[in-house]
Symmetry: C2
Subunit: 142 residues, 2 copies
DNA sequence: GTTGACCTTAGAGTTTACTCTAAGCTTATA
DNA sequence: TATAAGCTTAGAGTAAACTCTAAGGTCAAC
């Protein structure tokens, strides 16, 4: 039976975070000690590790809660239930990457256009591009 | 002279957002009408468009504030000042992309391992991977 | 002359995921 | 037997960027 600090060092979460996850239904201490300390058994620890793994992958707390509800009742859930959550997350991540790549490209174009030197910014092409609301560079892929 | 709603439709920002930006020093109305309405002149509009463009590229509000302070005093700032902000942002964006690509890869591996079919999740390989805290798939690029 | 769209302010609420604080027990160590 | 480290709770604070509300004044149109 681990105390919260022990679970924390075992999982790499902080005790604060574990209590926060508990409030959100992700981690649970099956027992309390006589004085009220949280006590985690092996099954609790495995669940905490599941949570940490899922969070590391990028699942939100709500996603993890959904995955846990499948986990505790696998026979009444399908592989489809699991992949739906995973697909949705993959879609989010992919969309975010697309957005960021567009930003990345624009920023790179801006940087390529400017010397970055010590001359004053009066004719800086980055500033000019930001000022031109109809600039090619800042409207994404042309 | 535009009123806030006119500036909003011209820029694609909402009136709420424009007031919020004003509070943060990004957009300013040079005048008020007799009854206190914000009035934006051409220069104000150009600044608002600069802000909108910079925000669209992904610069934070603090970044935009820094860019604006260069913009209003170009002769006392250098191209280096401008590129520093841009480089920092590019670095942030690139790091975020790296993170997300790692998530994307993991999620794809998970999805490839599961049929996604209507069978129950008892032997679901996604659930198994999440449960195995030492799983290959969930520890990023091996 | 009243409806409806638009404007004003200060300030609260939203989202996500923590992160920290205060006040007070408990437990291990020197 | 004192410290120090660790545990408890409720609740507040943080970050970013909005988003909305309430209560009220203004303006154009029918
Ligand atoms: Zn120059
Ligand atoms: Zn330059
Ligand atoms: Zn199966
Ligand atoms: Zn499956």
């Amino acid at each position: 039976m681990l105390k919260i600090g022990e679970l924390a060092s075992k999982t790499g979460l902080t005790a604060h975070t574990i209590r926060y996850y508990e409030k959100n239904g992700l981690i649970n201490a099956s027992q309390r000690s006589e004085v009220g300390y949280r006590c985690y058994n092996e099954s609790d620890v495995r669940q905490a590790e599941f949570v940490r793994t899922a969070r590391r992958i990028g699942f939100s707390i709500a996603d993890v809660a959904a995955l846990l509800s499948i986990r505790v009742d696998k026979t009444n859930h399908t592989c489809q239930d699991v992949t739906e959550i995973t697909q949705r997350k993959l879609k989010d991540v992919s969309e975010k990457i697309t957005e960021l790549r567009s930003m990345q490209k624009t920023l790179q174009i801006l940087l390529n256009s400017c010397s970055g030197g010590p001359e004053n910014a009066y004719h800086c092409s980055i500033m000019e591009a930001l000022d031109a609301s109809n600039s090619q560079a800042v409207r994404g892929r042309a």
